[in-house]
């Protein structure tokens, strides 16, 4: 190189020390143009960085025009050297150029991460991963680690912080601001000589990067040459430290062009999008971010005494959260952090030391308040802003595309759509609307279907409001495509949800919106919440919705095996916890729990049906999964029915459910009832038992009418109640039976008057029905039979059963004015026999 060579500023992306040094260096050498590692397509929108509406953290977003799911991000924080350089250049009216491999190539090269909001390899390939070294070298052999090891550090990050970021000398007036960069370039040159060449040849074909290092560096060299022709030699280049030696390498233009030949291409779109600190940090599962953007931001902004200022900020936060932290704590924490740094041989207390000090001094050794500090300060809540003038977000573009393909135009006036989910287009429309609802874009609102009750029909009321565009823009932080964004939003909502029921509802919505990728996360959260939720009522509440989802998923042909597993697990937990949870409830709570009991009973039945469809892994020790589930539930019900001390309503209900399932012999049920209703039992409990056993409201009464066994049991017991106890029991029974409909009560009364269903005692038979004939009137009874046959679909002589049953069991004296009333029990009787 000859003459004034370009100033090469090798940095670590998102390093506050680097950023500070870059400012100083730029001030010192006042370049004629600034070249920055980044996609050249962004040159057109770089001026927006100076817009007052632009507030970092923001990211440059490149996505393929025809496939918004294929996207890459170049995030910038306030303390990113690149950002500092851009702002410096714009403020000094110096041209800015991006020199990295064009996004057209890097997007085309990268095939992974389609449809995901932050594809890890693409997301920061040219940005973060090579924040100090070659991106490909990191996973295999980190050249920085070699440097750090040479300096006696275990942790490469830590070494870089000590050696570069925490040095504040670069900004000292009078010092040579370029000296540190020369040293870094030299070190990187050595490293590349040792590791680099073999790495860049063998290490990069894994496609961990938008383009291989060789191609990227070739492109950077070409752009550098171009810029020198245009702006002269007084240039400054800001790029990852690893690339610095490559830029000074002497290669011919032809060789570099050769390296770029034949790279695949797509048509990219670039825009600025708001970013958050959380997404800068690596906690968000974002491959290679920085762990502590908040801390770096603090280092960048603090004019002096960073540790003292940091501790004061921490103390303020803890005080706001009602932790008693005094100034004395701050003093001690600072002292401990400094002493720790000295013991560990570091030049300045870093994040590790301050964190250790905060834990030991301010948090009483507990990690709980510390988590707060980490979340709010070390990472931080900062949300970036992008000016209005920024190009449209890819999410908006994706939505427009979907609206076109689905012929679902946004219209200002209200319009109802009937969707038949069996048709592909309609199903896709429904999915789109559900996904938008998940994203908070309430374009469509589900309304009750007019016609069918089938699950394949949905009715939506659509209306596009102008502010929905804003909602879409807001939702842009979640991803670049509707499906990707909805998935990310659902996952985040699942993680952030507080109650179990919320998560179940979310699972249902995920199924409706067909977001199979979000389901695993939702399921995991669901399983976690279920495991930790000690309230059986919550679990029991969540189970039915979940089981519904399992079945609904079947209708939609979604894979719900995982859902089934979670539901089974939930059911198991309910089984284990239910007996204990039923103890010691007051009347209201017992009534509520009885409702749960019914809901769980239904859910278990459905689940056991659905389970064989999904392959259950629990075939091993448990025996057949589904029948095992029902069997265990029956066991739980048995315990509930038998256990003393539980509320009567619950015991009665459990007994009844068992009886209905045929798992409780009649004599045993009778014994249980006898026990529950005997004089030794609290009268209120006995009434509750009856209520639980025969159900409440109208339906219970109907069951008594239709099920002779139950009526016989109640009848038997009632007859057996001694006269003196009867007055005690009467009000309780009255309470239960007065809830029945009048017609039910009346029918019931008639049944009992006629002597019950069990061939009651002769005494009752004789005296029971004054004004009625003593015997069955076959003629009149026969008049019913044609109707019965019609109802039951029996065309040939199926009437004998009905007749014998009626004849033996009852003294059916049917008076002339009782025709219609008598029909009901008779039909029921015949129906019973027909079964």
């Amino acid at each position: 190189m000859s003459g004034p060579t370009p100033v090469l500023l090798g940095v670590r992306h998102h390093g506050p020390g680097s950023a500070r040094a870059v400012t100083a260096a730029l001030d010192q050498c006042a370049p004629s143009a600034v070249l920055i590692e980044g996609p050249p397509e962004a040159d057109a929108i770089v001026h927006l960085a100076a817009d007052p509406g632009m507030r970092p953290p923001v990211a440059l977003l490149a996505h393929a025009t025809d496939d918004p799911g294929r996207a890459a991000f170049w995030p910038f924080a306030e303390f990113s050297p690149e950002w500092v350089a851009i702002r410096w250049a714009l403020a000094h009216d110096v041209p800015v150029r991006f020199i990295d491999l064009p996004a057209a190539h890097s997007l085309a090269l990268n095939h992974g991460g389609r449809g995901r909001p932050s594809p890890v390899p693409a997301g920061d390939a040219p940005g973060s991963p090579d924040r100090s070294a070659g991106p490909c070298a990191a996973p295999r052999l980190d050249p920085l680690a070699a440097l750090a090891a040479a300096a006696g550090y275990d942790d490469a990050e830590l070494w870089w912080e000590d050696a570069v970021e925490h040095r504040r000398a670069g900004g000292r007036p009078g010092g040579d601001a370029l000296a540190p960069f020369e040293a870094i370039a030299e070190a990187m040159g050595e490293l590349r000589a040792t590791f680099g060449e073999s790495e860049s040849e063998s290490g990069c074909e894994g496609g961990c990067d938008g383009g291989s290092d060789a191609a990227r560096e070739a492109h950077m060299r070409l752009k550098l040459r171009e810029a020198r022709r245009e702006f002269g030699d007084g240039l400054a280049v800001v790029c990852g430290a690893w690339h610095v030696p490559a830029l000074t390498e002497k290669r011919t233009v032809a060789v570099d062009r050769q390296a770029l030949k034949g790279l695949p291409k797509v048509k990219p779109q670039l825009s600025w999008v708001p970013w958050t600190n959380r997404r800068l940090s690596r906690h968000s599962g974002y491959g290679a971010g920085i762990a502590s953007p908040g801390w770096y931001g603090h280092l960048f902004h603090a004019p002096d005494r960073p540790v003292e200022r940091w501790m004061t900020t921490v103390a303020r936060l803890l005080r706001e959260e009602d932790h008693p932290v005094s100034s004395a704590h701050v003093i001690e924490a600072v002292r401990l952090a400094d002493a720790l740094a000295a013991v560990r041989g570091r030049p300045l207390a870093g994040l590790t030391e301050t964190t250790d000090a905060v834990r030991a001094v301010m948090c009483d050794g507990s990690d709980v308040p510390l988590a707060l500090v980490r979340d709010r300060l070390v990472v931080g809540d900062v949300l970036g802003e992008v000016p209005e003038a920024a190009p449209a977000t890819p999410l908006q573009r994706d939505l427009s595309r979907l609206q076109r393909t689905l012929r679902l135009k946004p219209e200002g006036r209200e319009r109802d759509w009937e969707l038949d989910l069996r048709k592909d287009t309609d199903a896709a429309r429904s999915r789109l609307l559900h996904r938008l609802r998940l994203l908070g874009v309430d374009w469509g609102e589900p309304v009750c279907s007019r016609g069918g009750l089938g699950t394949f029909r949905e009715t939506w009321r659509l209306r596009w409001e102008p502010e929905l565009a804003v909602r879409v823009a807001e939702a842009g932080v979640w991803g670049t495509t509707v499906v990707g964004a909805a998935t990310a939003k659902a996952e985040s909502e699942a993680v952030g949800s507080a109650a179990l029921a919320e998560v179940t509802a979310l699972a249902e919505r995920c199924l409706l919106a067909d977001l199979p990728e979000a389901l695993p996360v939702v399921m995991r959260v669901l399983a976690d919440r279920a495991a930790l939720d000690a309230d059986v009522a919550h679990l029991a509440q969540a189970l039915p919705a979940l089981v519904r989802s399992v079945r609904y998923g079947d209708v939609r042909r979604t894979g719900t095996a995982a859902l089934g597993d979670v539901a089974t697990g939930l059911a198991e937990r309910v089984f284990v916890g239910l007996p204990a949870a039923c103890a010691g409830l007051d009347t209201d709570a017992a009534a509520e729990m009885r409702g749960h009991l019914d809901a769980v009973h239904q859910a278990v039945a459905l689940l056991a049906e659905a389970a064989p469809a999904a392959p259950t892994p629990s075939k091993g020790p448990a025996g057949p999964g589904s029948s095992g589930l029902r069997g265990r539930w029956a066991g739980v019900l048995g315990v509930l029915a038998e256990r003393e001390g539980l509320p009567g309503g619950i015991r009665g209900r459990a007994a009844r459910l068992l009886l209905d399932d045929g798992r409780l012999a009649e004599d045993r049920a009778a014994r249980l009832m006898g026990l529950a209703l005997s004089v030794g039992t609290e009268p209120a409990e006995a009434a509750a038992w009856i209520e639980g056993f025969v159900g409440s409201g109208g339906s219970g009464g109907m069951l008594l009418i239709h099920d002779e066994r139950l009526l016989a049991l109640v009848d038997d017991w009632l007859v057996g109640v001694p006269a003196e106890a009867f007055t005690d029991v009467l009000p309780l029974l009255r309470r239960t039976f007065s809830a029945y409909d009048a017609s039910v009560r009346r029918t019931l009364g008639e049944l009992v008057r006629r002597g019950g269903a069990d061939g009651g005692t002769a005494a009752r038979g004789v005296g029971g029905a004054p004004g009625f004939g003593p015997d069955l009137d076959p003629e009149r009874a026969a008049a019913v039979l044609p109707t019965m046959r019609l109802l039951l679909g029996l065309d040939t002589g199926g009437d004998t059963g009905g007749e014998t049953d009626g004849g033996t069991g009852t003294d059916t004296g049917v008076g002339p004015d009782r025709d219609t009333d008598a029909l009901t029990p008779a039909m029921a009787r015949a129906g019973g026999a027909g079964r």
Partner: protein, 366 residues
């Protein structure tokens, strides 16, 4: 955490005697700045606890197996003038660490106050030799100094064990000592001022916090370091196996090689229930009220070994440890039983190769 056997008459020699050789070598090799009256630099103290090899080839055995960070914070705290509070569930080597810290820093781990519900103020401040007091009246000769008082006068490290068991009013006598670094003797109109090098290590039990919670005034004088349970299953299996082996030998119990699998299983159960998540990280669990410390795992396995040796075929099997585990897990008959049953049904039943264990646990659970 084993003490390499040193032949002394004492059943359990003090740390500074047992590791005298290592301490001497460390002090000799140590060229870093030492706080006043410290036997070695903070760096050397950390090395003494964590183990390492010195430049002259002396191997320092690790005394504490755990994160380096914790030891560094503890040592650094002692180098400032703040007192150190070691917290942790039972069986996390609190006392062990405090003893070795004192031995390394001051060469003396015997300035010890054992905290109990009956610890009087005299144990922390000073008592009187009543014969002298009556004969000659109050004087320094009639005064019986406490370990803390002696540590202050000599610039050494004092230790208070189980601080939270000490009644609150007695605890608070430490406030003056820790903040003013002085111990007034009003009877004589005198005071004992702490000389440089004095500091105090207290240990307390996490789970006991409710017993005699430290007042915030006292708390503020301490830097708190929480000693964690072993980080990995392998480390814990290792610790348990080694301790069980030692105990087993002293009880003449045979431990077959098959025993290790059962130990691993016990450790797995303990860790999963303690952490509230299965080892594969997939399923969350409720945690029981017991501490389920490593020490308890050791006693479960030892008990199982005894059962196997005296009533079984000498090989540690699922049935031998099941009852012990149940006893360790179910401390609160209602809540913990629920936790245990859930664990059995949701985790143990489904796990390959754990059928025998499931059956054994079902047998003892009912």
């Amino acid at each position: 955490m084993t003490v390499p056997g040193i032949e002394t008459e004492a059943l359990r020699p003090h740390a500074e005697d047992a590791f005298a050789e290592e301490l001497r070598a460390l002090a000799a090799a140590d060229d870093r700045p030492r706080p006043e009256r410290w036997r070695m630099s903070p760096w050397a103290v950390a090395t003494y606890l964590l183990g390492g090899t010195l430049s002259d080839g002396t191997v320092i055995t690790p005394k504490y197996v755990g994160p380096r960070r914790i030891v560094e914070v503890a040592v650094t705290t002692l180098a400032t003038d703040r007192a150190l509070l070691l917290l942790g569930v039972p069986g996390t080597a609190k006392t062990w660490v405090s003893e070795h810290l004192a031995a390394a820093v001051s060469g003396d781990s015997t300035l010890l106050v054992q905290g109990t519900a009956g610890t009087p103020e005299e144990a922390i401040r000073y008592g009187w030799n009543y014969a002298r007091l009556l004969a000659h009246g109050p004087s320094r000769e009639a005064l019986v100094p406490s370990p803390v008082m002696r540590a202050m006068a000599e610039g050494r490290t004092a230790r208070v064990e189980e601080l939270t068991r000490v009644p609150a009013d007695v605890q608070d006598t430490l406030i003056t000592i820790l903040s003013e670094k002085t111990l007034p003797i009003p009877e004589l109109g005198q005071e004992v001022q702490a000389v440089r090098g004095f500091n105090l290590i207290a240990t307390a039990n996490d789970r006991d916090r409710g017993v005699n919670e430290l007042s915030s005034a006292l708390r503020r004088r301490f830097n708190t370091v929480v000693l964690p349970l072993p980080a990995t299953a392998d480390a814990e299996v290792d610790i348990v196996a080694r301790r069980v082996d030692q105990i087993g030998r002293s009880l003449d119990l045979p431990a077959g090689p098959e025993g290790l699998d059962e130990i691993r299983r016990v450790v797995t159960v303990f860790r999963e229930l303690r952490d509230g998540v299965t080892a594969d990280g997939r399923t969350k669990l409720k945690s029981p009220s017991g501490t389920l410390s490593t020490a308890e795992a050791i006693s479960v396995v030892t008990g199982g070994l005894a059962l196997a040796a005296h009533f079984g075929d000498g090989v540690l099997r699922a049935g031998d440890v099941a009852a012990g585990i149940l006893g360790a897990v179910v401390r609160d008959p209602a809540a913990d039983r629920l936790v245990w049953q859930e664990y059995l049904e949701a985790v143990v039943r489904e796990r390959d190769g754990w059928k025998d264990f499931y059956r054994a646990c079902r047998e003892v659970s009912v």
